[in-house]
Point group: C2
């Protein structure tokens, strides 16, 4: 448990406690002047969450360039009992990557560990350092005629170390899995500064406890991921993309099972979009937009395979014709080119930006068993609109993973400041239902600072206690990203 | 660290220390008379590894019928400080499931926890208890028009709890992953008797540390898996199977990459078989056998998909025609019926039985990066045949996973008893090379008692220390399957 935040003066918070001169000198000797930032303006991008929801303070930002430097830095901080916030691209949506307001935690940026150490096309792996930008890794894989499938909105600035520390998801999890599933090995610097070399590139390795899964998704609270061996896949030669008009989430779940039976793992994406969510894109994102039929719900599906694109499109077209004939869907647009496919995808991918332009909202990132999605949407919609008249609900997400982004605002925008104050009550309705249906209150964004109290509410004491015990073993001094997750 | 084994008298080992009468009475009150076995003859199947390599002793075999009973049993054993060996179908190949010869460990059999609690076809999951037989689970899935893909030689008697505790592999890992990858949630009884209900059926859940991965593959040393939520897949409608004659492991690895580029995840198996391994099947397993061309190496490949079988066979035939034309393979048999496919598969699946009939051998279950397989085979073959003239090497395995079964015996059978005494020297050659190539000394069978000393040799001190620390946190009294893994 971190110490409670002392209340700062309203106008002039006390300056953060400085690091001991000897510690600072030792850090300077390890990383050099170029590896330290202490100027307040230069530190700001490392202290502030991108949307401005969290702004912390720190005496120092440290930017080591190698794993050996990370190790030496941690040995120094461990000896001096200094808390540390490991940071990748600082794109966390839950305040996981910024320090607290107390100002006694240093930020350790992995940005300079940005080398692709090896690409092994025959083994379908690449070994990369934590600070590599996700989109750069997608390109490195493509240059070796391979696919690295992790794909998400922040890919131009997020770093793979952060992706692994938060077990990032995205739009291709249905086929390829989360960041966790894409990882064969890790290199980790422990709180003590010791280096664990677990950089194995093996599909099968049953030699003891699988420690890498502890660090993946731990949000930097157990150690610092400095490198990873990632799985690669064949680069798909052919894609088929379609936008479907469908009556309800229940019909979408049934169609999903049909698609999986017919196309198995050729089905690489299945995204549910409510008409309200689509409407925001039409309203706020400049067109022209594809002509899509009016429908309460929409489904964006994508197939990917190694064969001929015409065959894939034909097979999807045949199934869609059956679905139209049986009334499962009321309309379908099957992209006839890569450009058409991109325009359909843009309608899905721009929902986040359209929401941002539209204004404030209360956001949820939840999952339930796929079979419970219809019940979740029906009951949550009903409970929320009863409790908050005039509510507008934006529902979209990765239905094939049981993962919905489920966001609320007042249809009358002027009432939203007041509505945001009701977030605890809104969370209670949504998260209680998620919990009842066996779901997760954080499907892909993690816990960070944002959901720490919610985590304590919904996890069993047995599970919290195991997590605490493991945290204590790996981080006995409580220095690693304090106040996050636990 | 377990206490060293005291040397028993050669003819009459001292009787195992009896349990305290009060403990026995408490256990009887929990599981009833039907849940206890103390008769030596009736206990024997629980104390003896199937091939007779390990025979232990125990004061008692306990057979609880529910998770609540497992919990109560563990509370009792924890209070009484009694060591416990959790046991599934007792099919471990590494001595992981039998007690030591000291006789102070009770066996806790999960066999009576054998219910399928739920099948959720829309969520592609089933929730099952630890004692369910693997082949029964395959059938339960098939009845719901779903595939549970875990498949291995012992499937008629092994139990899913053991499969998870050893992270079992098998022939479909290339497409579907290990037991670990097939698990979404676990229920675990901890050493203290507390129950951790982690039975979540979610594809995405980023709420804290992923504890299930600690228990999977831990061989019962951290807790007792009592139930699991397992992933299901669409039942393939179509298969295409072919047996190829190929010149070398290097050619096989190149062809594998071509197959993956063309067929992606439609490729569900890719098994390498040396001509020596095939010869043993021809020699010891009654025919008729399929007519297969002479070749130093063979490759068995299988495609599975949701579409038309004729299309799948045609696509595979086209690629094989190209491979024949380019000289990549020298012959190919493409099965024209399910019966022909089964006969080809039998040539691969009977290698183990043919080896057993043939006599004793030194066995290795190793993995290396797929790209290093050719180098491993070449260098290991050369080093072993130089060190042991007249050696016969049987090589086969799951090349798509980088996993080889690599076994040695003397071609002159009469010399094998002496050769077996050289196992440490043989292991050193094989395992040192595996280690040099970044591989694993136990790809799918685990550590158990058999490879415990080897584990200490090849794991870094940092990794061993992390494993020990986590073991100590979850099993502070050292009661869980002592002497295994660590």
């Amino acid at each position: 448990m971190p110490a409670p935040t002392p209340a700062p003066g309203l106008d002039q918070p006390p300056p953060p406690p400085p690091l001991a001169a000897a510690t600072l000198a030792e850090l300077r000797a390890i990383v050099g002047e170029a590896g330290l930032i202490s100027d307040p303006a230069a530190m700001l991008p490392y202290l502030r969450e991108q949307r401005g929801n969290y702004t912390g303070r720190a005496p120092l930002v440290i930017r080591p360039a190698t794993t050996a430097e990370v190790s030496a830095v941690m040995r120094c901080l461990y000896a001096a009992d200094v808390k540390v916030v490991p940071q990748g691209g600082n794109t966390s949506l839950c305040g996981a990557s910024t320090p607290s307001e107390i100002g006694d935690e240093v930020v350790l940026s992995l940005a300079r560990l940005d080398r692709v150490r090896a690409v092994d096309a025959q083994n379908f792996t690449m070994t990369v350092e934590a600070g590599c930008i996700l989109s750069d890794l997608q390109q490195a894989a493509a240059q070796a005629d391979r696919l690295f499938p992790l794909s998400l909105a922040a890919q131009g600035s997020c770093q793979i170390g952060g992706n692994l520390s938060t077990n990032a998801g995205g739009v291709q999890v249905l086929r390829y899995g989360n960041a966790r599933d894409l990882t064969l090995g890790l290199e980790v610097v422990l709180a003590s500064g010791e280096i664990w070399d677990g950089l194995r590139g093996l599909r099968k390795d049953n030699t003891g406890y699988d420690l890498k899964h502890l660090f993946i998704g731990a949000e930097g609270t157990l150690g610092i991921i400095t490198a990873a061996v990632l799985k690669l896949f064949p680069l798909p030669r052919a894609n088929a993309t379609a936008w479907l008009a469908i009556a309800s989430p229940a019909a979408a779940v049934r169609l999903l099972a049909d698609l999986q039976a017919r196309f198995a793992s050729t089905l690489t994406a299945c995204e549910l979009v409510s008409d309200v969510a689509l409407g925001l894109v039409r309203q706020h994102i400049p067109g022209p937009h594809p002509a899509l039929s009016a429908s309460p719900w929409h489904l964006l599906i994508e197939l990917s395979a190694g064969g001929e694109e015409s065959e894939l499109r034909e097979a999807l077209g045949a199934l869609l014709a059956e679905a139209l004939a049986s009334g499962t869907i009321s309309d379908a647009v099957l992209a006839q080119s890569g450009e058409q496919a991109r325009r359909l995808w843009a309608m899905r991918e721009n929902i986040g930006e359209a929401q941002r332009i539209d204004g404030l909202s209360i956001k949820h990132d939840v999952s339930v068993p796929i079979s419970r999605i219809p019940e979740f949407v029906e009951r949550a919609d009903q409970a929320l609109t009863e409790a908050f008249p005039g509510l507008r609900i934006v529902t979209f997400g990765h239905i094939g993973d049981g993962n919905l982004h489920y966001n609320q605002s007042q249809a009358a925008a002027g009432r939203n400041a007041a509505f945001l104050a009701a977030q605890p009550a809104v969370n209670r309705i949504v998260h209680d239902l998620v919990d009842e249906l066996g779901g997760s209150i954080s499907a892909e964004h993690g816990i960070g600072q944002l959901k720490r109290d919610e985590l304590r509410r919904y996890k069993s004491p047995v599970e919290i206690e195991m997590m605490r015990a493991i945290k204590h073993v790996l981080d006995p001094q409580g220095l690693m990203n304090p106040g996050k997750v636990l």
